[in-house]
């Protein structure tokens, strides 16, 4: 059980590295909190004020924000994270932390359609295969990966770079809430009320890679934040994988550099799931993804154009359009312009069953 002083120290919101250094210098969290309150540590006044609030009051505020605090020695704190040097002494959690290590799917906030499509596809495939998807709930690749993760039974976790009670960017609030509703988790080492300052995000990335067995970089620039996650992953002994892209496309330069330096190229969702099961001890499969519908099978995970499918099936186009809409509403395929893409089987589809084949 996490001690009162550690709760207060976590809730003060010091720079994580400084906080760890102070605990080392003063010997214990109690001593650091006392020194902060007494003004023996230079800190902004609001931090000193925060240090004088009691642990009971902090616990009340946390439950008001509907989140819990987990100390690194608590049973709910993922052991694969706490074992790492530099792991946060305490994390704030909404929802339930995955019981298994996940797979981090990360990338740029300004992706191309290629990256977005595949991030979502990988998210879905991982989740269906039983891997929780871990990412940062940022715009772009992160959001797409989380959205994909919602398809399967293990939706995963989002690690924030702001206080646990803030949604940043605000546009992803809905996605975050969907993630919680689906049984996933929102995680942050920052207490409620902490603004999303730029320096907090790179540090946050060590938790993303820490919660995962592997880091998949979908799209990244040569100086992208996703490369920081990959580097943390390497330091933590995680596998690093990257999606190859055009060599002259700036959003793929970071990924291609990773591959040159030894990251495993990802050649597809199936390839990714297979590689993970070879590289790591695979989690128990969470259910098959063999859809028997001819349209879904023909579309496949990469997608096929409507016109091509009509010819291949020998169906009138109107019959195909009818069928595709029905499958779409069952969540078994998606449309992207004139492409039909098979989505992985998800809980809803198996509940909804097959309603009205033509």
């Amino acid at each position: 059980m996490i001690s009162d002083a550690r709760v207060v120290l976590a809730c003060v919101g010091l720079h994580p590295e400084r906080s760890a250094a102070l605990v080392e210098r003063f010997g214990s969290a109690d001593a650091v909190v006392a020194a902060l309150g007494a003004g023996r540590i230079s800190a902004p006044p609001q931090l000193r004020e925060a240090a004088s609030v009691t642990a009971g009051e902090w616990r009340r505020r946390l439950s008001a924000a509907r989140c819990t605090i987990l100390g690194s020695d608590d049973s709910g704190y993922p052991s694969w994270l706490s074992a790492l040097p530099g792991a946060p002494d305490a994390i704030f959690v909404k929802g339930s932390v995955p019981e298994l290590p996940g797979v981090a799917v990360v990338g740029t906030r300004t992706p191309t359609a290629y990256g977005l499509r595949l991030a979502e596809h990988f998210g879905a495939a991982l989740s269906v295969a039983g891997w929780p998807v871990v990412s940062g709930l940022a715009r772009g690749i992160d959001a797409a990966a989380h959205r994909g993760g919602l398809y399967g039974p293990t939706p995963g976790a989002a690690v924030l770079g702001s206080g646990i009670d803030l949604w940043y960017p605000a546009g992803n609030r809905r996605l975050g809430e969907d993630l919680l509703d689906a049984g996933g988790a929102i995680v942050s080492e920052y207490p409620p009320g902490i603004r999303p300052e730029p320096w907090r995000f790179p540090l946050r990335n060590r938790i993303i890679s820490g919660l995962a067995v592997a880091v998949v970089v979908v799209e990244a620039r040569s100086d992208g934040g996703a490369l920081i996650t990959a580097r943390y992953g390497l330091e933590q002994g995680r596998e690093v994988l990257a999606l190859p892209g055009d060599i002259d496309r700036e959003t793929s330069v970071g990924c291609n550099l990773l591959i040159r330096d030894g990251a495993l190229p990802v050649l597809g969702a199936d390839d990714l799931v297979e590689a993970l099961s070879l590289l790591t001890s695979a989690p128990p499969p969470a259910g098959g993804d063999t859809d028997t519908d001819p349209v879904v099978r023909l579309a496949g995970p990469v997608g096929r154009p409507l016109d091509w499918m009509a010819t291949a099936l020998g169906w009138p186009i109107s019959d195909l359009l009818t069928r595709v809409t029905q499958l779409e509403l069952q969540g078994r395929v998606r449309r992207h312009a004139d492409l039909v893409v098979a989505t992985c089987v998800n809980a809803e589809a198996s509940q909804g069953g097959d309603q009205g084949a033509p």
Binding site: T112, D307, S318, H336, A337, G356
Partner: protein, 491 residues
Amino acid sequence: MFAAVTSATLVGVEPRPVLVEVHVGGHVPALRLVGLPDTAVREAKDRVQAALQSSGFHMPDRRVTVNLAPADLPKAGSAYDLPIALGLIAASGEAPPAVADVVALGELALDGTVRSARGGMAAAVVAARSGRPCLLPPALVAEGSLVKGADTRAVTSLAEAVAVALGAPSSSSASRPALAEEPPDPPDLAVVRGQATARRALEVAAAGGHHLLMWGPPGSGKTLLARCLPGLVPMLSPDAAVEVAQVWSAAGRSDSPRKYPPFRAPHHTATVAALVGGGSGIITPGEVSLAHRGVLFLDELGEFPTNLLDALRQPVEEGWVIVARSGRSVLFPADVQLVAATNPCPCGFEGDRAVACRCRPAGVERYRRRLSGPLLDRFDLRVAVNRPDSSALSGPGGETSADVRMRVMAARRLQEERGSLNRSLDRRRLDALPWHPAGVTLLERAVERSALSGRGFDRVRRVARTLADLTTSEVATEAHIAEALSFRESW
């Protein structure tokens, strides 16, 4: 010493008689022109004097007053040269008074030749109402003869006009000037290879009159598909052809009678006046009216400035447009079927299989948001068009336009029995139509999955009704609803 010749002008597309009164009297030689003339009408004085002399008539050595009545109606253009000249000849007694008992319209060359002008159709309508013969330049006889009961006669010169007015047969036959627009037949759908989905959308658009939005990379054939549309809908009825000719005549575009509905494709750099009508002096119809009873095609919809799209909204919704200019306003018909094509993103290649899109999603989002809003809501049908693969390009062509039109006509007949095109079905009438319960369930499911908005709900039902009409089905079934849903796609 007075004579009056009837001529005509247009208020919008409405023909109005103009009485050209000529009075010869007083002793100081002069020629005065009154009755709200514009510059071109004022200059008629000089043209008429020269044409009279060239044709062997004399200009009276008296004070001549020409009045264009009613005086409060603005007159523009050179169309009153011929009636002024005939009135002068009658008033000065150079020919019997019967020479003024005609409806005449046309510009005069200095040598007395009669040239084409604007409003031949209006003159023919006025002539038909008054029972007088209608003298027109040869180029305008084609549009004039569309008017029932009009006795139109082609005259090539002032001398011939006088002779014809006095009862001589017209020696010149109606001819179309070399530069008149011969409306080309729309391309046949058979030339379109592959594109099964887009062809289907086009057929549904033709059958229900739905506005159609096509989006896809450059070179995917959106424009060709749009151009095929006039060949898929029923040909113009004689009445509709007259309506169309009236608008075109008002725009000064004489035109041979057309079989196919007009197809207009204004460029995105057009002005608001060019698009919906306007102009100083006489208000002329814009592209949206020239496309009356036909297709208005907006290529590169994403490039159209917002003010143009806003200006189009009301005409497209109501089927007419009122153009107001300093104290006057005229109504033009604008019953158009809107077809728009756009790139999916700024670079144009989002979704293309051969060329990678280099746009950021935020940029794509911004590009699409520009198009959102009330006008976009009018598009019942949205279809993604992509470049067909090589096997489809080398394969056989598809069905011909004539085959598709057969099915379209059958569907249109069912709509006529119900009283309106499916495009204009509102929520109340949609609710009154029979829907299969399974289809309703499917619609509700789509709304639940937020694949459909409230307005989208009605759009899908309108298209589903057309799909049912294409299969001559009384009830719109689940399959019709599902197929209609597939055309809602993302924009």
